[in-house]
């Protein structure tokens, strides 16, 4: 009886169900078709051949190294900010929160221009660095700075949420058992927040790897020095389309890997709790 009623009710919802299925199908096709078009244009032989191309190799190695360094830098300064903002109340907390979140909504081109105005040849800070013989703009350091600037909120936001989710009572228990604040942090808080911390770090790495706007403004497009993968895709588009496509496919693969890592981490955390 209940099953029959279920079927009747479901039949009544049929138009709605068709509408939802159509919308979902369209959304999947909208994202799927361009990706498929890209992958179909790059047969494995072409991908392997492109890996011999110095433009592709330089861009790939530069991107991996700079995104890796940027992620480490973001974890280094982002972790204390995330923890303090998750745990403490202090004057100006909202301002710090807003400033650290700002790069998410700031157009990357604006970020690049701002970095140039600050650390460029005649920039606010750059003019003094110039006197000391330190040049930042249009160097590999500028690539890293641009990546750190745009990618840091992805880590800080995620880590802050994860730290806030760790009950203080565990930290209190550790303190009463003789652990100082730092040992408590590393032996209790970090392990309990590790899933979020890792997800944030992976997202930051992916965002740094895909950085384009701020990098081209602040670091330029010099092969082997500042030309990361997205810049090489853009550069090669005018000449060597194959290199451009190969790099794009590599980035698609990395993006897939990032999503899978994050999904696995999240599922693991849900299973644990």
């Amino acid at each position: 009886m209940t099953q029959t009623m279920d079927r009747i009710c479901r039949r009544g919802n049929l138009p709605l169900r068709i509408l939802i299925a159509t919308l979902v199908g369209l959304a999947v096709l909208f994202i799927g078709i361009p990706l498929a078009a890209l992958l179909l244009r790059v047969p494995p032989a072409l991908l392997l051949a492109s890996l011999q191309d110095p433009v592709v190799l330089d861009a790939l190695s530069l991107s991996l190294v700079t995104a890796g360094i940027s992620t480490i830098i973001v974890i280094g300064f982002g972790t204390p900010i995330a923890y303090i903002n998750a745990r403490c109340q202090y004057p100006g907390k909202k301002i710090i929160d807003t400033i650290t979140d700002l790069p998410v909504v700031l157009p990357p081109a604006v970020a690049g221009l701002a970095l140039l105005m600050a650390f460029g040849h005649r920039g606010l800070v750059g003019q003094y660095l110039d006197l000391l013989g330190i040049e930042i703009a249009f160097t590999t350091i500028a690539v890293i700075m641009a990546q750190v600037f745009v990618a840091s909120p992805f880590y800080i936001r995620q880590a802050r949420t994860s730290f806030a989710g760790v009950s203080r009572v565990y930290e209190h228990a550790a303190r009463t058992l003789g652990a100082g604040p730092l040992r408590t942090f590393f032996s209790i808080t970090v392990p309990l927040a590790i899933t979020g911390i890792l997800s944030g770090a992976v997202m930051t790495f992916a965002r740094a790897l895909g950085e384009f706007g701020a990098t081209i403004m602040f670091a330029g497009n010099l092969q082997g020095k500042t030309q990361t993968m997205p810049l090489a895709i853009y550069g090669a588009l005018q000449g060597d389309m194959d290199a451009s496509l190969a790099l794009a496919v590599i980035l698609v693969v990395i993006s897939f890997a990032v999503i899978i890592v994050i999904k696995t981490l999240t599922e693991k955390e849900e299973a644990d709790t």
């Binding site: 009950s167 209190h172 228990a173 550790a174 009463t176 003789g178 652990a179 100082g180 392990p191 309990l192």
Partner: protein, 240 residues
């Protein structure tokens, strides 16, 4: 000797107590939820600081606002059994009990033998390498107690240690805890809203209401009818 004389402004009232308990006795702080009992434990442990006053345990002064002394939490040497035990969920039973000893940089072999020595009599050896998420409520309580006792604390603090257990386990655990406290020979403070805990374990009992001690004494003194409605309610419940 437990000597607690503190004032602390809380959200709804001012906690104002002056409690002294002789050497190695168990002090029970009794009262309804929100009377300020757990705050006293937090003040003793150093998780909160008093606005004024002092806390002395044995020969150690934990805090004395007049002398501007305040020992940090990790150096006080208190064993705290939290209300929901606060067992570290990413660790095994062994790692939980060993945590305090690890923080004191005790050699690994000494930790292993000490943990086994403690866990054996309470029947925890077979779950030693289980994650604490997969053990029973009674076992959680034992792990929390052993974790606190492993560091050989100057004082044991117990916050509603039986509230998460079913009634049958509660009775058994009261007896177990009484035996452990007698054996450990350290002062302890137990916070509870259940008069049965106070009767079973308390040498000195302080009934608290809105941050103040309204009735204090040993079990016999406290149990006299007509002294306070909280105690009388217990009698009427017993009759029904």
């Amino acid at each position: 000797m437990i000597d607690i004389c503190v004032k602390k402004a809380l959200r709804d009232f001012v906690l104002d107590v002056d409690i002294r308990v002789p050497e190695n006795e168990t002090l029970v702080l009794l009262g309804e939820n929100g009377a300020g009992k757990s705050t006293i434990l937090n003040l003793v442990a150093g998780l909160m600081t008093p606005d004024s006053g002092h806390i002395r345990i044995g020969t150690a002064t934990f805090v004395d606002t007049a002398a501007r002394t305040c020992i940090p939490v990790e150096l006080r040497g208190t064993g705290y059994v939290f209300q929901d035990y606060a067992l570290f969920p990413h660790m095994t039973v062994y790692e939980n009990i060993a945590y305090g000893l690890r923080m004191q940089d005790v050699p690994r072999e000494t930790i292993a033998s000490r943990v086994r020595e403690l866990a054996g009599p309470l029947g925890l050896l077979e779950v030693m390498y289980e994650n604490v998420k997969y053990i029973s409520g009674g076992q959680c309580q034992r792990v929390a107690l052993l974790r606190a006792l492993a560091v050989q604390p100057k004082i044991l603090l117990l916050d509603e240690p039986f509230s998460a257990l079913d009634v049958r386990t509660q009775g058994q655990m009261r007896q177990e805890l009484k035996a452990i406290l007698e054996c450990a020979k350290i002062p302890s403070i137990l916070v509870t809203h259940d008069l049965r805990d106070a009767i079973a374990l308390g040498d000195q009992i302080c009934l608290m209401e809105k941050g103040e001690v309204v009735l204090s004494g040993d079990v016999e003194t406290i149990l006299q009818e007509g002294k306070h409605p909280f105690i009388d309610r217990f009698y009427s419940r017993e009759v029904t």
